[in-house]
Amino acid sequence: MRARKKVTKAARERGRRALAQKPSAVAESEPVGLFGARRTVAPFLGRFVIVAGIGLGLYYFPYDPRSFPARCMHHYLAAYAHLAGAAVRFFDSRVRVIGTDILGRFNLTFAMNCDAMDVFILFSSAVLSFPSTWRHRSLGLTAGLVTLVTLNVVRITSLYWVGVHFPRAFELLHIDLWPMAIVGATSGGFLLWARATVSASGTPSADKA
């Protein structure tokens, strides 16, 4: 019995040491969260602010309309308008797209912000800043982009439909409800991705960033 007790004590001691050496192990006084510990939060937030600042700065910079980035932006918005126009055409075959304008029984102009790029920049900054592997990050970014583009095309189709049938409700849907849905979906998507990435790789570690 004595020998067994000694082995148990030694095993306990070894277990304690192993736990103390694990990078995920934190002191009891330090709260454990999605980020492992409070000390990993500050670097995450720092990286998030920098990446989001660069992304938003590049997107919203007041480029000269004749400059290359401004022309690229126009082509990108026109391509997006054509994608959305193709979706709207499922419900109204008379719809046509000229440049960034979707023309039909209710006309829509596809401007900056209509692509929900602000939300995607915030989402991708959070994904890129989160302590994870590049494989998980690229999966998260791809899934986020596909989901957001799909959601946005649904948004534009619904706005067209509401604009045709219930024009008085257009502003409510456009300004109040859809932004809420897009921000909610993006926040939920980030939490799900973070949960999946933490579950897949054990506890998060700041040195993977």
Binding site: S24, P31, V32, G33, L34, F35, G36, A37, R38, V41, A42, F44, L45, L56, G57, Y59, Y60, F61, P62, M112, N113, A116, D118, V119, L122, E171, L172, H174, I175, D176, P179, M180, I182, V183, G184, T186, S187, L191, L192, A194, R195, A196, V198, S199, T203
Partner: protein, 209 residues
């Protein structure tokens, strides 16, 4: 640690609170706009150095408003650079700029599962940050109108990027409070409903032989 049921209850409470706060109750818009006008006029009077320049906020005339649905939420900024200059008026939708972000943040803080002292700290700092954003929404166009920030200067570019990244996009009336809340919760209370293994709760360990 929150269970899935608790999490759903809190999400439901958040949506209910938000719906209550955003419901167009009579007089809320008028009172909010009046409070905004008083604060903005004090701020503008303190910031304007030129005695000839004038800037004044006054609630929009609901009957004469072009946007009947949001009329009582509009305020009109009147600007006159000098005694001989023409009066310029700009209509500002205070609901989108200030009320919705504040209401969203308050609803988020109220359902956050942290102790009262932390909740108060998160609420105070968050509301201060959102009010700072609101004051930027007023200060940046004013600075541009009075020529303090020239369009083709680094200051003008920075102001433009700040305005279009933080204030203008409709999605940001929800994204700004959500990001502010998330950042403050991560700093003030990392264990928010999250376990070391993931969100919302770690799955039970697999039986080992």
């Amino acid at each position: 640690m929150l269970t899935k049921r608790d999490l759903l209850l809190r999400a439901g409470s958040f949506l209910l609170l938000l719906a209550l706060l955003l419901y167009p109750w009579p007089l809320v818009g008028r009172l909010f706009v009046q409070a905004f006008d008083v604060a903005a006029n004090i701020g503008v009077a303190a910031a304007l150095n030129d005695p000839e320049a004038q800037a004044h906020f006054a609630a929009a005339d609901v009957a004469a408003s072009d946007e009947p649905s949001a009329g009582e939420w509009n305020t009109v900024l009147s600007i006159q650079r000098g005694a001989s200059d023409a009066l310029t008026t700009i209509s500002l939708g205070v609901r989108r700029l200030g009320y919705v972000p504040l209401a969203t943040f308050v609803a988020l803080v109220l359902v956050t599962p942290v102790e009262r002292r932390r909740k108060l700290a998160i609420g105070t700092v968050g509301i201060s940050l959102l009010l700072l954003r609101l004051s930027l929404a007023v200060a940046l166009p004013l600075a541009r109108a009075f020529g303090t920030l020239a369009n083709d200067s680094p200051g003008g570019w920075l102001a433009s990027v700040l305005y279009y990244s933080l204030i203008e996009p409709p999605n940001l009336m929800y994204a700004a409070p959500v990001v502010t809340w998330a950042v403050l919760v991560l700093f003030a209370a990392p264990p928010i409903a999250l376990s070391a293994k993931g969100f919302p709760e770690a799955s039970p360990p697999h039986p080992t032989r």
